[in-house]
């Protein structure tokens, strides 16, 4: 069709497959290059070159087409417009491409480039790289002529035939967005569940949502929202209920005024067929609609037919973040168009069987859903709208006496009004939607293999396959129940290495580094020498069941940085901590809490390590060095020159004693839980609030300071204004004093919320403490030890921090378990990365 300028236009799908058809030499490649991006074009010549190093090697054609199909299939799966540049004059060649397109549920257009045979022969003659005889062109031309007649029936959405070189050169190709693509609409939306002719409840719900209804003679004909919200109806406006025409009139009005969108439900589809005179079984409330519409004007009936005729089966909204379809839609179908996509959207993933009530059995696709977009739908009535893997069914059976429900997007808020009465007898009693829902289902494909995770705080993070494999073993053999595992702490880097005499680590560098990152104020927290612990505590068993899905009576967990439980049973510890944290439950108005802590003493968990590693070394040193000194002394008395050896042995003995004192400082007797304490230093999250993300450390420490209990060890800390040399020096003195009295050291963190590039915390460990990390004699080798590389450690710290926050946010926002688990799992996977364990 010509446009205003008189140029011919052809309309092709913006996403889908375009098959060029034309004999060799017809100018397909030139045409393609003119109208499409080079990457959008897949040509058979190019593929022949790929597999044979020769674009004209006809013997390579079968392999070349294998490659071509593979490329086309991959591009279509990824949702890219693809143009096939091959002669495609034979029906079989086209059929196989159409099959590929259908398998990805995209539209296929054909563009026929139909030049006179003589032109093509002449063009081929001019090409030096190809020696097709004229007979080949003639044969292709015959094939094309034969094809043209039947082309329309081969499954193309449209066939564009361009004849004559002038038309071919002048044509303009217009890309048409698919009808379901409304990514340009950003809401906010009020998505409304199955209405089924309940016009009173619909008006009530709209009013409750803040809509202003417009009436024409007491009949609601339109509605608008003062805040400019848009309504999206999930379909099934009609049938069963008392006033199908009233509902249609209002919704049609809202759509006409641009205030609403509506997708087709299966009931609209069937009603439409009935109204158009098709023979359908009149059941499931269709009779009511037909009778009610019969009382309306012919004009209204025709409007209703047009309206229902124009309904499409799903919309992709808000940059692809929201999909609305009547019966839901699996991810691979989002934005696609085909018979089976429509049928999925209208009827769900039916298995073809029927249940005891004669209703179709549906495959619970939402259980498997792992897509990014939120999917909102209706169709299956249940007693309550609930999230299942970022999808929600809004059909709460208003017509059966349930309620009419809306979801506010993006607020994720549910609003509903009860049915005025039961309007229709349900075939099957309304039950909870959860019969086939397993919120705790984890799939191997959620975690295994190489994957990229998107995090709000640290960008895109790669989890290599081998790390995931290692983490899988730890996770499934040793970790606590994944329902409690909502967070794992990130690794923490030490401060940049100090050059100060006798020091490997010193506060100066910490202050300089943070100042360099643009942080103005830091908090120095005493680093407790114990075991890192995450405590997730529910207020009671009911809260545990409701919020964590814990059905075995557990009310919390305290676990290590690799997700292992601390003791054979942590119930007692959980109970003690719950009592201790009572003030927080009250002040934060929450029924669960996640705390980041250190569990003390170190020996409570690490006694075996202390004995096999540290005490053994100490014992060996304390026994062997005095004997060596005695033997050296005897040699000295004989006049042998062993003075250097003796002084080194003497110095080692002193170091060994210091080493024994260093580790023994972290050993305290414990008996079961008696003697065990927790030192919380951050409140990770509570109901509705990812506190680790939203509150500065100052807030956390102040809240935690309110806890007073035998099981809580307070975390000493001080704030430092980095611009004040005086405050820096005072903090350094504080650190020296702390570490001189057996303290491990301190952790320096930004006191205010800091940006993405800033390390979440860095540790500054004391001189004596480092003996148990770098060995008793490390102070003799500082020159070597200063050559250490923090880059990888810091990169991991940042990534794990981002993943941890992602997990907490997902849990707080009630994302499905697998989503929380994916981030937590990724932290564990990154922790299997080999990094110098002394850092």
């Amino acid at each position: 069709m010509p446009d205003i300028t008189g140029r011919a236009q052809i309309h092709v799908p913006a996403m889908g497959l375009i098959i060029l058809i034309g004999v060799s030499g017809s100018g397909k490649s030139t045409f393609a290059r003119t109208h499409f991006k080079p990457t959008e074009i897949v040509s058979s010549d190019f593929c022949r070159g790929l597999v044979a190093d020769d674009e004209n090697d006809q013997s390579a054609t079968p392999d070349a087409f294998d490659v071509l199909h593979y490329i086309v299939s991959t591009r279509l799966r990824r949702g890219l417009l693809t143009v096939v540049d091959a002669t495609n004059v034979q029906q079989a060649a086209r059929a196989s491409l159409i099959t590929v397109a259908k398998s990805h549920d995209v539209l296929v257009d054909a563009i026929v480039i139909d030049v006179p045979e003589a032109v093509a022969i002449e063009r081929n003659r001019q090409r030096t790289d190809r020696d097709f005889g004229g007979h080949v062109i003639s044969r292709q031309h015959r094939d094309l002529r034969r094809s043209l007649r039947r082309l329309k029936k081969e499954g193309f959405r449209r066939v564009h035939v361009l004849g004559g070189t002038s038309q071919i050169d002048a044509v303009q190709v217009v890309r048409e967005r698919p009808w379901n693509d409304r990514k340009d609409l950003h809401g906010p939306f009020d998505i409304i569940g199955d209405v089924h002719g309940c016009s009173g409840e619909l008006r009530g719900l709209l009013t409750q949502l803040g809509w202003k209804l417009e009436y024409d003679d007491d009949v609601a004909v339109d509605a608008s929202h003062p805040e400019g919200r848009q309504a999206v109806f999930v379909g099934d406006l009609v049938d069963r209920g008392p006033d199908t025409p009233g509902v249609l009139r209002l919704v049609m009005g809202m759509i006409a005024s641009g205030n609403a969108l509506c997708v087709s439900g299966n009931h609209e589809a069937k009603l439409l067929r009935a109204l158009k005179g098709s023979k359908v079984t009149v059941s499931h409330g269709l009779a009511e609609s037909l009778a009610q519409l019969d009382r309306e004007s012919e004009d209204f009936r025709n409007q209703a037919i047009d309206f229902m005729n124009g309904l499409i089966s799903h919309y992709v909204l808000d940059d692809g973040r929201l999909v609305v379809a009547h019966a839901g839609l699996k991810e691979t179908y989002h934005g696609r168009a085909s018979g089976r996509v429509r049928s999925f959207a209208l009827y769900g993933d039916t298995t073809g069987e029927t249940d005891d009530y004669g209703l179709p059995v549906r495959y619970p696709w939402a259980r498997e859903y792992r897509g990014k977009a939120m999917v909102v739908y209706g169709h299956i009535p249940s007693s309550k709208a609930e999230w299942v893997n970022n999808t929600m069914c809004l059909d709460t059976g208003v017509v059966f006496g349930g309620a009419l429900t809306a979801l506010r997007y993006p607020e994720r808020q549910i609003v509903s009004v009860p049915a005025e009465r039961q309007w229709y007898e349900p075939v099957r009693p309304l039950g909870p939607a959860t019969t086939d829902r397993e919120p705790s289902v984890l799939k191997i494909s959620d975690v295994a293999g190489t994957r990229w995770l998107e995090t709000a705080h640290s960008g895109k993070i790669k989890i290599p396959e081998e790390n995931a494999a290692a983490a899988l073993e730890i996770m499934s053999r040793f970790a606590v129940d994944p329902r409690w595992l909502i967070y794992l702490p990130p690794t923490m880097s030490p401060v940049a290495t100090s050059k100060l005499d006798g020091f490997l680590e010193h506060p100066d560098q910490a202050f300089d580094e943070y100042a360099g990152w643009g942080v103005t104020r830091v908090v120095c927290e005493e680093k407790h020498m114990g075991s890192r612990a995450v405590a997730v505590i529910a207020k009671d068993a009911a809260a545990a069941r409701r919020r964590f899905g814990a059905d075995d009576g557990t009310t919390g967990a305290v676990y290590t940085r690799t997700g292992r439980p601390f003791f054979a049973t942590t119930t007692d510890l959980v109970d003690r901590l719950r009592d201790a944290a009572a003030p927080l439950f009250a002040s934060l108005d929450t029924d669960w809490l996640a705390l980041d802590c250190e569990l003390l003493p170190w020996s409570a968990k690490a006694l075996d390590l202390i004995k096999t590693q540290y005490a053994s070394v100490g014992a060996a040193a304390r026994r062997s060095l005095p004997e060596a000194l005695a033997v050296l002394e005897a040699a000295k008395e004989r006049g042998l020159d062993v003075g250097d050896l003796a002084s080194r042995a003497g110095s080692r003995l002193r170091n060994a004693k210091a080493f024994e004192e260093a580790y023994a400082a972290y050993v305290r007797p414990t008996d079961g839980l008696d003697g065990v304490t927790l030192a919380p230093f951050q409140i990770l999250a509570c109901e509705g609030r990812p506190l680790a993300l939203t509150e500065p450390h100052e807030w956390h420490l102040a809240e935690l300071a309110t806890l007073e209990s035998d099981v809580i060890t307070p975390t000493r800390h001080r704030f430092v204004d980095l611009s004040s040399q005086k405050e820096r020096a005072a903090a350094t003195r504080w650190w020296l004093d702390l570490t001189a009295h057996g303290g491990e050291g301190m952790v320096v963190k930004p006191a205010h919320l800091a940006g993405v590039r800033v390390q979440p915390g860095i540790k500054v460990r004391g001189q004596e403490y480092l003996r148990i990390i770098y060995g008793p004699d490390y102070t003799d080798s500082l020159d070597v030890l200063r050559d250490r590389h923090l880059g990888k450690k810091r990169q991991l710290a940042q990534r794990e921090h981002g993943l941890g926050l992602e997990a907490l946010t997902a849990f707080v926002e009630r994302e499905p378990l697998w989503k929380v688990h994916q981030s937590v799992f990724a932290v564990l996977a990154l922790e299997t990365e080999p990094v110098d364990p002394r850092l």
């Binding site: 289902v441 996770m475 499934s476 053999r477 129940d481 004989r638």
Partner: protein, 470 residues
């Protein structure tokens, strides 16, 4: 670390000739791990003592060895290598006294060939197995042994003894033999070596053990520990020792299995009986395709692969290492394409839904569920019975009641077992699973039947009820 050797042979200072080190000098020798120094704290006609001191700087040692050194404690900066006599000292000794070790001494050959009174003192010697092992190993060689345990830390007496002993050996022994014995036996007692072992390690052992190792009653223990439990090498060494006239056949370790030994050694091992029973159950079921969930290093899988009746065999395990063992056992890399098409091995966790579990006639969970935390069992049940839904599932697990018949067992049979069930517990679990997921279940015992405690292993065979969906 330090070691001293004294003699009271007259004149004692002849020790200097035997060792090729002058008693009045202090000599240092560069070693890969540090510096060895030889000196004499006493050197009179009556008694002469040589000291070998090795100074090791663990930081430099750790830095010079790449992270793939076999002895992981080396990679740690906190280790006992500066203080305790280990293979490092053994190697230094062999190097510094190499001529003496070969038994050659031009000026005193006769002395070198004769046994002389010796006293060897090692203040700190890592000794796995404690003083008893030191006695067992050194006494047959003619030493009078004094082995004193060293406590971990006097401040914490409840911690008990360390893995170190103070060792004093006294005896009349040829010096070269004493040195060779120390060279071999220091790492044997420590059971740890600081270098990778190649096949020539066997030759080293044969050379240094000449004249004393073959006849030693603990020769197989020594060989095994010296070669660091590398069975391939151990077997070669034991075979070579056998050629020298010793019967060490039965010292060859039987295939490791995480299974407690049977009460009576002569019986067919329980794991073999279990394989037998499950194998025939699969044949009875007529299952043509079988997946072994938690296949471990693939013993049973191997058996399945060798049975042509099974068209398709798969093994999955949580441990990548086990799967590598299984692949080696099955010789996956050398299989013909046709064979390889029958077999699949992959990593998986039984608590995660996995599409690869589906499509088999039967799934085997042999001694697997007891390794799964009870709070994860529900997920396992759903994954296996609810989602994969094979026509048959065979589960075996220990019978806890039977444990009283094992003398060595106090509690559970394996440290990784999260639980062990009585017959009643297993019965109610398997009935529950069958009812929930639409299976019929039959239970049998495996192993010798005790009238009160039943069989050591219990087995349940689940078959899917065809007209039911879970």
């Amino acid at each position: 670390m330090i070691l001293t050797i004294s003699t009271t042979h007259q004149p004692a200072t002849d020790l200097g000739f035997l060792l090729h080190k002058h008693p009045d000098r202090v000599q240092s020798f560069k070693q890969s791990a540090g510096t060895a120094t030889v000196f004499y704290p006493e050197a009179s006609k009556e008694r002469c003592t040589v000291a070998l001191m090795l100074e090791v700087d663990p930081v430099r040692l750790a830095r010079s060895h790449a992270r793939n050194t076999p002895d992981f404690s080396l990679a740690q900066y906190v280790n006992d290598r500066s203080y305790a006599a280990s293979s490092l000292l053994g190697v230094a000794l062999a190097d510094v006294f190499s001529t003496a070790r070969s038994g050659r001494c031009t000026s005193r050959q006769e002395l070198a060939d004769s046994a002389i009174p010796l006293e060897i003192q090692i203040p700190v010697l890592p000794c796995r197995g404690g003083p008893d092992i030191a006695h067992r190993i050194f006494e047959p060689l003619g030493w009078e042994v004094e082995a004193l345990p060293i406590p971990l830390n006097e401040a914490f007496p409840e911690w008990g003894d360390s893995r170190y002993i103070r060792l004093r050996l006294a005896g009349t022994v040829r010096l070269a033999d004493a040195l060779n014995q120390l060279y071999v036996l220091l790492p044997v007692l420590d059971e740890s070596k600081h270098y990778w072992q190649g096949p020539d390690e066997v030759d080293k052992l044969m050379r240094s053990g000449e004249g004393w190792l073959a006849a030693h009653p603990e020769s197989s223990l020594i060989t095994r520990r010296y070669l660091g439990r590398r069975r391939g090498l151990t077997n070669v060494a034991l075979a070579r020792l056998a050629e020298l006239g010793d019967d060490v056949e039965d010292a060859v370790e039987t295939v490791a299995d995480d299974e407690t030994p049977q009460r009576e050694e002569k019986r067919v091992p329980l794991n073999v009986q279990r394989h037998e029973v499950v194998h025939s159950a699969l044949l009875e079921l007529g299952a043509r395709s079988v997946i072994d969930l938690g296949c471990g290093p693939g013993q049973f899988l191997h058996r399945l692969v060798k049975t042509p009746f099974f068209d398709r065999v798969a093994g999955s395990d949580i441990s990548v290492r086990s799967l590598q063992h299984a692949a080696r056992r099955l010789r996956v890399e050398r299989m013909s394409e046709r064979q390889a098409d029958r077999v699949e091995l992959f990593q998986s966790a039984l608590t995660y839904e996995d599409e690869r579990f589906a499509g088999y006639d039967a799934a085997v969970l042999m001694e697997v569920i007891e390794h799964v935390d009870s709070f994860r069992l529900g997920a396992l049940e759903r994954v296996v019975f609810g989602v994969a839904r094979p026509a048959a599932v065979i589960v075996t697990t220990p019978n806890y009641e039977y444990n009283v018949l094992y003398e060595q067992i106090d509690g559970l049979r394996h440290t990784d077992h999260r639980f062990e069930w009585t017959r009643e517990q297993f019965g109610s679990w398997s009935d529950g699973v069958a009812a929930a997921y639409g299976y019929r279940v039959q239970r049998r015992g495996v192993g010798d039947l005790h009238e009160r405690f039943g069989t050591p292993t219990q087995m349940a065979v689940f078959t899917r009820e065809e007209n039911r969906d879970a």
